[in-house]
């Protein structure tokens, strides 16, 4: 069984979009660290349309990733494509304090 998060990257003039595919858990640390390194625009968009399960370790890693983008790189983080389950999870764990749902 294949493990780890797959990340699709799409870049244009004013933002970079990361599409996250698969589960976000303890195996996603490397992928999320790479996102921090690659984020080079003032606006970073995350597309969770193809994201499956996010467990507590995944939440911790996302919080760490978003905190680094926001506080160390002063990046505006926008979130797209959340299903009902993951939207609830983000709300109750405080992820929306760092990233806002995109319009």
């Amino acid at each position: 069984m294949e493990k780890g998060l797959k990340v699709d990257i799409m870049e244009n003039n004013d933002h970079i979009l990361f599409g996250l595919k698969g589960n976000i858990d303890a195996h996603s640390e490397t992928s999320l660290n790479e996102i921090v390194n690659k984020a080079n625009k003032s606006v970073v968009k995350f597309d969770f349309t193809n994201t499956d399960r996010i467990n507590s370790m995944g939440v911790a890693l996302l919080l760490k990733c978003f905190k680094q983008l926001k506080e160390e790189k002063n990046i505006n983080i926008q979130i797209y494509g959340l299903n009902r389950m993951n939207a609830m999870l983000f709300k109750m764990t405080g992820i929306f304090l760092l990233a806002s749902p995109g319009q």
Partner: protein
Amino acid sequence: MYFFIFKDLEEQRQWKDYLSELDNLESYIYNNEKEFSEYIKNYDNNIAVFGISSDFFLHQCPGIVETIKKSRPLAEFCIFLTDSENPISFKYLIKNNIYHVLIKPNEEEDYVKKFYRERFAVTIKKIANREKININDYISPDTKVFSEEVSNSEQKEILIKKLEDLIKGDGEEVEFFKQRVALLADEMLENALFGAPKTDVGNNLFKKGDARSTLNKEKIIFFYAYDGKTLTMEISDNWGSLLPNTVLELLEKNNNGDEVDFETPGGRGFFIMSRFFDLFHVIIDPGKETKVGGHLLMNPNFDPMNKKGFHIQVQKN
């Protein structure tokens, strides 16, 4: 028997139906400390569980548990509140070793109210009789309870797939229910495989994300059952490393979504379990066994932001 203390007549009236499944329930409207102390000291019957209104406990009489314990040292305590009341004060629960919380949901559907009411009654009867909470008691009779020994971390996804396959049907609600079940099973298995095993000084033996097999004498068993409406799951490990107040501390740390602790994320798994189960339980036999589990009802109005009740049962030797 059960002794429930209300702040006033109105509160007693509000809870009457909800507690109707409990036989031998004595209701008491608190007036003053002297009168109460005398009453409880001279009360002849054996009281196994005291229910105390959260609002009354927090704002009128925070010392009531200590008062009761002077004459009833073996009694269990359950704090009760409605979902619309102020948040549970975990600090008071920890200070007073209170391990049972009953929430009356602001839920309009009768079958959901019935679900919560009946399950509370079953659980509190077990606690009163000093019997272990048993997941078989929460599902329809004759429902098969599956059990699988977990011997390595690779089994996690296989078990989650089995759970998802157990839930038949399609549509948004079924899909959401499957996602809840999958997340809860993930957290339970991660906790048993990576949270429970500790060194002699209390550090984690294994790192989350690493592949691991169980040790020689280590035993992890995952139980699950689904009767078409309610899904129940429980996982047992034979470390018994969890302490009841540690569970409360972990829940407290994650309870306020406006104040996220980014640096020390421990316990978020327990917080998720306590909110995504309809009723969450932990059974602790210190140094011998820990069981973590709960029940979920397929309910289109389910919201993890609503408060949830829980039970932490400690086996006393």
